[in-house]
């Protein structure tokens, strides 16, 4: 049979990055930022994220919160992303990055308000330019590209400081056209955008293997002509380093990049889900052995700067913070019904005043 002779046009490699393995051992020299102080700070924030999530799930169970998507097991991604970002960068998140929100300055009671069914939660006191949580999968990645354009435009045309946008999404999000259209445009227009994929192996009940025939999600960036890599998403140092480099590239005018952070969803998809219907027990057990907090703690213990005393003190401190946030959340009175019209437009058009007044009368 005829065997055609082909000419090689292009070659692409996908590589992965890790610093701390699952047993808390370093696999290579740590990057410069990874001072003991920074690592403790990261550990603190991951611990806080886990507590915030845990408390949210408990509140949902007792009817104090609506459906909630925990980030259990994935704390290194959110915290790594949030910590590597400059304050001036803009975050365009999906809905599952508790750690990143905390790093950005979103208050715990705001997170609770959002999932407690109150739009006011998205009116962050800090991080006022960051985008709100986005529920429709992957749509936020297009916002991310738009934000990145705006930041580039405002820098280059209007003389404002250099900034970049970071957007996040799940493994499921990479199947949606929005994801692809966003990275393709970002590559085409060389936008200062960092796309972080939280590959937690599941999109509700669909395992990562059912989502795409790709060996890695990182390789999807090849379709946009932009650089990408895979990182150990349970290794906060690797996440931080990858995001830092990506942001440096973006800030320097080098354009976008994509980071696939590999982790595992150690919880139900949300409190409305029952993962035991579809999730094999073995996978879960193995995943627990790789989770991000313990490995960092082991490493810190190895450095001799962490132990039970520090852990207890940290837990106590964070519990206090959490309790205060829960208190504020619980004590916030409901918004007034007319609020549903008050932010629809900057000024409510006359055509809707009658409805507004009817609502006033109703309540």
């Amino acid at each position: 049979m005829h065997k055609p002779r082909m000419q090689l046009l292009a070659s692409f490699d996908i590589a992965s990055l890790q610093y701390l393995d699952e047993s808390g051992q370093t696999t290579q020299a740590l990057p410069d930022f990874a001072t003991p102080d920074t690592l403790v700070a990261l550990y603190r924030q991951m611990t806080l994220a886990r507590m915030v999530d845990d408390r949210a799930v408990k509140m949902q169970r007792t009817g104090q919160l609506g459906t909630y998507p925990s980030s259990l097991g994935q704390e290194a991604i959110g915290v790594g992303v949030g910590a590597a970002m400059a304050k001036e960068d803009i975050y365009c998140p999906n809905y599952r990055e508790t750690g990143a929100l905390l790093e950005r300055g979103v208050r715990i009671e705001e997170i609770y308000a959002i999932w407690g069914g109150d739009e006011r939660g998205q009116n962050y006191r800090h991080a006022r330019e960051d985008l709100p949580l986005s529920v429709p999968i992957a749509t936020q990645m297009l916002h991310g590209a738009g934000v990145a354009f705006a930041l580039k435009y405002k820098h280059e045309q209007l003389g404002e400081p250099i900034r970049a946008a970071v957007t996040s999404g799940g493994d499921g999000a990479t199947s949606k056209g929005d994801f692809y259209e966003a990275i393709n445009l970002a590559g085409d227009w060389k936008l200062p955008l960092v796309v972080v994929i939280n590959n937690n192996q599941w999109a509700i009940s669909l395992p990562r293997s059912g989502q795409t025939a790709c060996k890695t999600l990182a390789q999807k960036a090849i379709a946009a002509g932009i650089p990408s890599l895979q990182v150990d998403g349970n290794d906060v140092i690797a996440v931080y380093q990858a995001v830092l480099e990506a942001l440096q590239q973006a800030h320097a005018g080098g354009g976008p990049s994509l980071i696939e952070a590999v982790t595992y969803r150690l919880c139900d998809h949300t409190t409305a889900d029952d993962a035991s219907r579809y999730q094999p027990q073995e996978g879960l057990k193995e995943a627990w052995s790789k989770e991000p907090l313990r490995r960092l703690r082991t490493y810190l213990e190895g450095l001799g700067i962490w132990g039970d005393a520090q852990e207890e003190e940290l837990q106590r401190e964070l519990r206090e913070i959490l309790e205060e946030a829960v208190r504020v959340y619980r004590q916030t009175p409901r918004d007034t019904p007319t609020a549903i019209f008050e932010h629809l437009y900057e000024t409510l058009p006359e055509a809707f005043i009658e409805q507004y007044q009817q609502l006033q009368g109703d309540s």
Binding site: T67, I137, D178, Q211, Q355
Partner: protein, 331 residues
């Protein structure tokens, strides 16, 4: 025989038709092993196999588009969208292709798809999980648009939808997915896709609704009955094509009408129904048709969804206005 809920009736209809017709396939996000986030496809993959009950990657536009391709080749795809709030990426394929294939090819190819989606508010769900934008689909020529409101009608209408030779958008009122149980004979008997159902007869006023809002409509009718006012309650069921005859027949008795829907008022389906009533039954009306609807604002996060939804008090107010209306001009 077992009493089943509306969502169980959906499953039963799917199972019946899959058993009867090997060309019926079911797919969507999490419809397989997980049985759908509302369990509407529960057990189907175990029974009919992974070849006929398929989990798709996460992409609604894709789900809608592959259904078109499948249907043109003689399959009977039943595609699930997880929530109506995520159906919008699919609108292009539904409007530009599914609804046009038969016409575009002058009958050479057709598109017998069913697009299912749970819809509506009132279950304290997160943002985008409580949408009722049926009017968008009602405006699309070439589609059928169906909303069941009881287990029996869910069963019969879904069978009809799957067997229909043309595309059907089938919206399931999730607020009443498990609200009542009813005996539903698994006979494979379909209901007509062009008829409204009179759920309660009455001669004083006609209440028109569909889906979950019928709960409030019937409640209002009960309350009115205690005052000796007899409301006729009509379930439109098939929103497109609309059964205006049943409505006019009712207005010949009642001369007064209140329309109820969760969706925003402006350009909602209520506007079409009201317009047709005015066009066909102008002289029958003793009062303007009133619409009791969701407000013309975004469906709120759940703390305030109660303020948004057209509940019994708002319907009752409208009913009283319509009943008390005294024509000031024409007479």
């Amino acid at each position: 025989m077992a009493q089943i809920t509306l969502v169980e009736a959906i499953t039963q209809a799917l199972a019946f038709e899959m058993q009867r017709d090997p060309k019926v396939i079911v797919f969507g996000e999490d419809v397989g092993l997980n049985g759908g986030v509302f369990r509407a496809t529960d057990g189907l993959q175990a029974r009919f196999g992974r070849e006929r009950v398929l989990d798709t990657p996460l992409a609604e536009n894709m789900i809608a588009g592959i259904a078109v391709g499948m249907a043109t080749q003689g399959l009977r795809p039943v595609a699930e969208f997880q929530f109506m709030g995520f159906i919008y990426p699919a609108l292009d394929q539904i409007l530009s292709h599914a609804a046009r294939y038969r016409n575009r090819t002058r009958g050479r190819l057709s598109c017998p798809v069913v697009y299912r989606a749970p819809y509506g508010g009132g279950i304290h769900a997160p943002e985008h999980h409580s949408e009722s934008t049926e009017a968008l689909f009602a405006h699309i020529p070439g589609l059928r648009l169906v909303v069941p409101s009881s287990p029996a009608r869910a069963y019969g209408l879904l069978l009809a939808a799957i067997r229909d030779p043309d595309p059907v958008v089938f919206l399931e009122p999730k607020r009443i997915y498990r609200a009542v149980r009813q005996e539903v004979v698994d006979s494979g008997e379909a209901l007509p896709l062009d008829r409204a159902f009179v759920l309660r007869e009455g001669s004083d006023i006609t209440l028109i609704a569909w889906g979950a809002s019928l709960k409030e409509a019937l409640q209002v009718a009960e309350e009115l009955a205690t005052e000796g006012i007899e409301a006729e309650v009509i379930d439109l069921a098939t929103l497109k094509p609309l059964d205006i005859h049943t409505i006019i027949d009712s207005l010949e008795k009642t001369h007064r009408c209140v329309l109820i829907h969760e969706a925003a008022r402006f350009c909602g389906l209520g506007a079409e129904v009201a317009s047709q009533i005015n066009e066909y039954a102008f002289d029958l009306l003793h009062a303007p048709v009133q619409r009791v609807t969701g407000f013309d604002t975004v469906m709120p996060y759940f703390q305030l969804e109660g303020a948004y939804l057209p509940g019994v008090p708002r319907i009752m107010t409208a009913v009283r206005e319509v009943l008390e209306y005294a024509s000031g001009g024409v007479a």
